[in-house]
C-alpha cells in the first residue's frame, strides 16, 4: 500500500474501517511513514475538534409554537369535515320540513302546487261522470225520452239527423218491449 492509497483511506480509517485487513495495512504504513502519519494526526485532530460545536438548546417557545400550530391544524381539519356535513344535514332537513309542512304528498309521490288543482278536477270529473251515467239509466225506460228524440229528429235545421226507418212506430214499440223484459 503506497502513500496515495493510504491518503485515500485515511477518512474511512478514522471512522473505523469495517474491513479489518485494510485497516491493518493502513496501520502498518502509518508506522513507517512520517508524512502519512502527520496527515493522519492532522485529519484526526480536525475531525475531533468539530466536537467543540456542541448542540444548541432550541428556544422554549418553539415547542409551544409547534403544538399551537398542530392544535390549529386539528381544528381546521375537523371544521373541514363538519361544515359540509352540517350543510348537507340542514339542507336535507329543510327540504323535508318544506314538503311535510305544505302537505303536498300523496301515494304517487310528491306533486307540485301548480299541478294540484288540475289533478283534483280530473279526479272529480271521473267520479261525477260515472255517478251521472248510473243515475240516468232509467231514462231509457221512459216514453217521454223517445218522444223527445222524435221531436229532435223532425227539426229541419238538424241536417245530420235523418229518417233511416220507415216503420218507426213498430220498431219503437218492440224496443220498449225488450227493455221492459
Amino acid at each position: 500500500m503506497d502513500c496515495q492509497d493510504v491518503k485515500n483511506k485515511l477518512s474511512v480509517y478514522i471512522d473505523g474501517d469495517p474491513d479489518k485487513e485494510q485497516a491493518s495495512l493502513v496501520e502498518d504504513h502509518l508506522r513507517g511513514c512520517q508524512i502519512c502519519s502527520y496527515e493522519y494526526r492532522r485529519m484526526l485532530k480536525a475531525w475531533e475538534t468539530l466536537d467543540l460545536w456542541e448542540d444548541a438548546e432550541p428556544p422554549a417557545y418553539l415547542r409551544k409554537s409547534i403544538l399551537y400550530r398542530i392544535k390549529k391544524e386539528k381544528t381546521v381539519k375537523s371544521l373541514k369535515v363538519l361544515i359540509p356535513a352540517a350543510a348537507v344535514l340542514i339542507i336535507t332537513a329543510g327540504i323535508f320540513l318544506f314538503y311535510e309542512g305544505s302537505g303536498l304528498k300523496d301515494e304517487k309521490g310528491l306533486i307540485t302546487k301548480t299541478q294540484e288543482p288540475l289533478f283534483q278536477a280530473k279526479k272529480d270529473a271521473e267520479e261525477v261522470n260515472e255517478e251521472e251515467i248510473i243515475s240516468n239509466l232509467h231514462i231509457l225506460q221512459e216514453k217521454d225520452f223517445y218522444d223527445s228524440l222524435d221531436i229532435l229528429k223532425k227539426i229541419d235545421y238538424l241536417p245530420l239527423v235523418e229518417e233511416p226507418y220507415e216503420n218507426k212506430d213498430n220498431e219503437k214499440s218492440s224496443f220498449l218491449e225488450s227493455l221492459s223484459v
Binding site: 477518512s11 494526526r41 485529519m43 475531525w47
Partner: protein
C-alpha cells in the same frame, strides 16, 4: 416500556396528540440542531423545525415505516434546508459552484497562535459553513447526528461510496483549516 418512534406515529395516526408531544420532545433538539448547523441561522432553523413537525403530523396518516424513523425525519429536514438555500440563492442571484470549496477568513491567521476554546469553536463553525452544501450535510449527519454511511446515503439519496467520498473530501479540507490549530480542542 417506552414507545418506539413508529409506535408513536401509529398513535398520532389515530389522533393521539400526547404521542405527538412525545415525538416532538424526543426529536426537536436534533432536528433544530441539524437545521441550525446546516443553515447557520437561528431564525431559519426555528422555521424549519416547525415545518418539519407540521409535516410529520400531516404525514402520520399515510406513514408506512420502511426505514428507520430518523432516516425519514432527517430526509424531511434535509429537503427543507436545501429548499431554504435554493430560495436564498434565487433571491440573491449569485452563481455558486457546489463543488468548489471557498477560502475562509481563518486562512490568513497565524497557525502558531494559541487560541481559546471559544475561538476554536468559531473556526470550526466557519470551516463547516465554508464547505459546499453536499459535503456539509454529509459531515453534519455523520459527525453531529452520529449516523452511519448507509443512513446518510439513504437520506441524501446516494450510494455509500459517494458518502465516503464526500466525507473524505470534507475531512481533507477541515484538516487544512483546523488540523494545525493550537489550543484546547477538546
Amino acid at each position: 416500556m417506552e414507545d418506539t418512534d413508529i409506535a408513536l406515529m401509529s398513535r398520532i395516526k389515530k389522533g393521539d396528540t400526547k404521542a405527538f408531544e412525545m415525538l416532538l420532545f424526543r426529536h426537536q433538539r436534533s432536528v433544530y440542531n441539524l437545521a441550525f448547523r446546516f443553515l447557520n441561522d437561528e431564525g431559519e432553523a426555528e422555521d424549519i423545525t416547525q415545518e418539519v413537525f407540521i409535516r410529520v403530523y400531516r404525514a402520520a396518516k399515510t406513514y408506512t415505516p420502511q426505514a428507520k424513523f430518523t432516516t425519514w425525519l432527517y430526509t424531511i429536514v434535509k429537503n427543507l434546508c436545501f429548499n431554504a438555500i435554493r430560495n436564498k440563492k434565487s433571491a440573491e442571484i449569485v452563481p455558486i459552484d457546489d463543488e468548489a470549496i471557498p477560502e475562509i477568513a481563518s486562512k490568513g491567521d497565524d497557525p502558531s497562535e494559541i487560541l481559546s476554546k471559544g475561538q476554536i469553536k468559531e473556526r470550526v463553525i466557519k470551516a463547516v459553513n465554508a464547505l459546499p452544501e453536499n459535503l456539509r450535510i454529509a459531515v453534519i449527519l455523520m459527525k453531529f447526528q452520529g449516523l452511519s454511511c448507509e443512513e446518510v446515503g439513504n437520506i441524501l439519496g446516494c450510494s455509500v461510496n459517494a458518502v465516503k467520498l464526500r466525507v473524505h473530501r470534507a475531512k481533507e479540507y477541515l484538516s487544512r483549516e483546523l488540523g494545525d490549530l493550537k489550543g484546547e480542542t477538546k
